[in-house]
Amino acid sequence: MSAHAATLGDGHAAPAEPHVSAYHKSLLRSPVFLGMVIFLGSEIMLFGSFFTAFFYIRFTHHPWPPPGIDVPAAPTSINTAILITSSFTMHWALISASRGKRFGLVFGLFLTLALGLTFLSLQIHEYVNLNFTPSTDAFGSGFFALTGLHGFHVFLGCTLLTIAFVRSCRGHYSPDDHLGLEVTGLYWHFVDVVWILLYTVVYLL
């Protein structure tokens, strides 16, 4: 494929970019990017179904949260800060990639990955020390389902970040050609935004 051949560059670029007729080139950045945007639409709806259950239970269930359940809102604000920071480091890595600055790219990805893993560890730590379980009450069910679903997405994001990190160390990205990185970044920002919403709804309200 001509598009494929063009992106080969250093021999390690995007996988088999689909052929886009020149007529539609102006419409978007790339089919892969568009595909990720559409897929994230699907992800939003998956979180939406969990949020629907959570809200429904919340508004038919009094009092909220049920007595005897402590939601660790304050300690988790640290975790929230960690995840928000990781979005900025991700952005730094992306800008560095497009400007050809290798240090920022590699170090930015490393920081993002480290922050993501820290978030996951703190989340597990929180799970272990909570005074309720998924079986305690419908609130616990919703709490664990939402944070668990989000945690799974953070795990997937960390997997993508690991791939991107290894590839950036090997010098696979170039300023013109780092689509895999952009897609990973998009996914990571999505995970971050969902967390902000989730933290507000589940922990604060």
């Binding site: 390690h12 007729s21 089919p31 568009l34 919703g142 664990f144």
Partner: protein, 806 residues
């Protein structure tokens, strides 16, 4: 790409299948590897889960639900890895070298075996989808026959009540998730990239993965019979689902795999339609099937996560257990239904919109008229998609949900009848005054309109709150769903399969058997499901094995016709299988359609188009003289020396040469006017004086003055006229041969001109200017420009032309 494809096709001709690196059968992607990798992953899933439970958490090692769930998830992953869906991505991930150069070793079918391995060609995947889904259609149909056998008389005959519950649950689940939804993905897969002038889908490997996840879902659902069938109905309502037998988990995992497959395909369709349309293919020039798939894919992407979510929550309620649907723990039963129906009502349109698209194509092509209200049909498709998300609670009128939701849901539900009505009236208006060819696809399209209107109207009944409360959970609902899903979706699927069968297989199906199939299916379908309306109004409950004796005779009648309906499906299966194997070779464009998939060779080349086609107009300009949808450039293959027939070469090569050079070869092109006196006179005049041979070709066109065309009859008449012409010429001492050829006179003439025995002069005979379809399309001028041969144009008036038609 084009250069690459051309080079590749040369390579293929020389060496057959382009081959990747060869590895042992145990290691390369195949069913052999799939078998051992699946077993390995299943074992790791089961033992690993038990080990984690025992040593990490200190629980008892075995817990049926948890171990089942993780085992099935890993079995699914193991199968897709083993069959080879992930090979390329894995190579990419570890930086292996062979992904750098795509060798297309898994693209295109060169023998039947290529249909049984991972293939990235959208056409192969389309066929794989259709065959797989029809397998599950037959299995689901067999389950339906089992249900009808049980219901043929009151009381409990053959099945224990729990098995009966499993029968109707698995029947519905297979028909919905393994047949209707994915068969449209299959037809779309084959047709959409061709229709929009693309070389493939945007993500061919994701496409392959989507397909291979699908059979897993079906196998999981079916194998639930071995562990205690899931018996909560396909809706899997929460309290039943949470406490049901072990088969529930198999259904949940089956739905997750089928749903993931569906979402991946929908993302693929959306990206393909947005980014890969050929130059000139604006949104308002897209065929309506493409519009329908655009809307459907959007519904899948936004809706399917909700059923995934609802089943995850049920799973959590079974495994941990959480309390989402357990009022004792603070949960709510109703919320399951809200989440479930928020997907499953749009799912009804996921199962119907692509069918609408197929009907728009079939009716326009077979009525030879532009589709009526193109933009309105496209916009009504979008409107149905949007409205579809606002009506979910009409399934819950009697569930005890918030009463204030009832009225708005009733109103939005009735609103959906408006865009649907727009479509129905547009199709009828398209047929009005068209030249309707009652081929099998067209028969199914007409049958669809008839039955779907009935199903749509009973849908409006059900939207009305008081009626719905009265007939909830009765056979009225069963009648409605089967009128819209069988009379609706399945009829459109049949129409689509018959319509695109020649392109997909390169063979023609048997028209007689196709019509037989239609008429039996049509009547049996109505006789089966129509009485159910009455049963429902009388209060017969659905999903119950036993029923009051007074309904016995009607149920017996229904069962008989249900068996006939099942038997009619076998005619279809036979017709498809036998025609694919030994059918007549199909021409490239048997329906003379304008859309792009018919402008390529049959069967379609591996990369569809040598160059991106240039789209210049509407896809539906049937009956407009000179109208074109697109310009397709085909790269001519390297000219090969024309083979000399062995017999001629051995017998008398010199004499043959003499014959060729000294005889004048006249090509006569005529359809309705063949046999006309003026034509015969003109040929005689032209042939007089020197030794001549005459070839008469009859591009069998439609009579321009007919409304409904019976193909066989027209063909027989044409052959008769042709025979008369040859007879008349022979009487005049002119050597003449003749044949009925492909419909398009332009290509038919070019075929002869470019053959080994080209004519030296051409005679074209037509009706007068006002009545001739050929003249409207500038046939004579175009052929003069193209061939450079002397062309004589003879106008034959209808009456002398028709005189010999007796």
């Amino acid at each position: 790409m084009a250069a690459h494809a051309a080079e590749l096709s040369g390579h293929e001709q020389a060496h057959g299948h382009p081959s990747g690196p060869k590895r042992s059968v145990w290691l390369r992607g195949s069913f052999v590897r799939a078998a051992w990798v699946t077993l390995l992953f299943g074992a790791v899933g089961a033992l690993g889960t038990m080990a984690v439970r025992k040593y990490l958490f200190g629980y008892p090692a075995y817990s049926q639900g948890v171990v089942d769930t993780f085992t099935m998830a890993l079995v699914g992953l193991g199968f897709t890895i083993g069959i080879g869906c992930w090979d390329y991505w894995w190579g990419y991930l570890i930086g292996s070298h062979h992904w750098e150069q795509e060798d297309h070793s898994s693209h295109g079918a060169y023998s039947w075996k290529d249909y049984f391995r991972v293939n990235t060609d959208h056409k192969v995947i389309g066929v794989q989808y259709v065959c797989t889904t029809f397998f599950f259609f037959l299995v689901g149909g067999a389950l339906a026959e089992a249900i009808r056998a049980e219901l043929a008389s009151p009381g409990v005959q053959y099945f224990a009540p729990s098995t009966y519950n499993g029968l109707f649950s698995v029947h519905a689940a297979l028909m919905i998730f393994l047949f209707v939804v994915p068969v449209f993905a299959g037809l779309g897969n084959y047709v959409i990239p061709l229709m929009i002038g693309a070389q493939d889908m945007a993500f061919p490997r994701l496409n392959a993965l989507s397909f291979w996840m699908l059979p897993l879902g079906g196998i999981f659902m079916l194998s639930s019979f071995f562990v205690g069938p899931f018996d909560a109905g396909w809706t899997n309502y929460a309290p039943l689902a949470v406490h049901g037998p072990a088969g529930q988990i198999m259904w949940i995992m089956g739905v997750q795999f089928a749903g993931a497959s569906s979402i991946a395909t929908a993302v693929n369709f959306l990206v393909t339609i947005v980014t890969m349309r050929a130059p000139g293919m604006t949104f308002w020039r897209m065929p309506l099937l493409v519009w329908a798939n655009l809307a459907t894919s959007t519904l899948v992407v936004l809706g399917t996560p909700f059923i995934a979510g609802s089943q995850f929550l049920v799973l959590f309620d079974r495994l941990f257990p959480t309390h989402f649907f357990d009022p004792a723990g603070g949960g709510s039963v109703i919320v399951y239904q809200h989440i479930f129906w928020f997907y499953s009502h749009p799912a009804v349109y996921i199962m119907m919109l692509p069918g609408f698209g197929i009907i728009s194509e079939v009716i326009a092509v077979h009525s030879r008229k532009p589709i009526f209200g193109y933009k309105l049909i496209a916009m009504s498709t979008i409107a149905i998609g949007v409205l579809g998300f606002t009506v979910w609670a009409h399934h819950m009128f009697v569930s005890g949900m918030a009463p204030w939701l009832r009225l708005p849901m009733m109103v939005t539900t009735m609103l959906i009848a408006i865009p649907t009505g727009i479509k129905i009236f547009s199709w009828v208006a398209t047929m009005w005054d068209g030249v309707v060819h009652l081929t099998t696809p067209m028969l199914f399209a007409c049958g669809f309109i008839f039955t779907f209107v009935i199903g749509g109207l009973s849908g409006v009944f059900l939207a009305v709150l008081p009626v719905d409360i009265n007939v909830s959970d009765t056979y009225f609902v069963v009648a409605h769903i089967h009128y819209v899903l069988y009379g609706g979706s399945v009829f459109t699927i049949y129409a689509g399969i018959y319509h695109w069968f020649p392109k997909m297989t390169g063979k023609m199906y048997d028209e007689g058997l196709g019509k037989l199939h239609f008429w039996i299916t049509f009547w049996a379908m109505n006789f089966t499901f129509m009485p159910m309306h009455w049963l429902g109004l009388q209060g017969m409950s659905r999903r119950v094995e036993d029923y009051p004796a007074q309904f016995g005779p009607v149920n017996f009648w229904i069962s008989i016709w249900a068996f006939v309906l099942g038997a009619s499906t076998l005619i279809f299966v036979y017709n498809m299988a036998y025609s694919w194997w030994k059918g007549e070779p199909a021409p490239a464009n048997p329906w003379r359609a304008l859309t792009l998939e018919w402008q390529v060779a049959t069967p379609a080349p591996v990369f569809n188009f040598d160059e991106p086609p240039q789209v210049v107009g509407s896809p539906y300009a049937y009956g407009h003289p000179g109208a074109r949808h697109a310009i397709v450039t085909v790269h001519e293959p390297e000219p090969e020396p024309a083979p000399v027939p062995a017999a001629v070469a051995l017998a008398a090569p010199e004499r043959r040469e003499v014959v060729m050079s000294s005889f004048k070869h006249i090509l006569v092109v005529a359809n309705q006017t063949v046999g006309g006196e003026r034509l015969i006179a003109a040929v005689k005049e032209l042939a007089a004086g020197e030794p001549s041979r005459v070839t008469v070709i009859c591009p069998q066109n439609d009579p321009s003055d007919a409304w409904v065309v019976n193909e066989q009859e027209v063909a027989a008449e044409t052959r008769q006229r042709l025979a008369q012409t040859l007879e008349a010429l022979r009487e005049a001492g002119i050597e003449a041969t003749g044949r009925v050829v492909d419909r398009d006179p332009y290509t038919a003439v070019l075929d002869v001109v470019e053959s080994a025995d080209p004519p030296s002069e051409i005679v074209i005979s037509t009706l007068p200017q006002t009545r001739s379809g050929w003249l409207r399309r500038d046939l004579v001028e175009r052929l003069r420009d193209r061939t450079g041969l002397p062309i004589q144009h003879i106008v034959v008036d209808v009456e002398p032309g028709r005189a010999s038609r007796t």
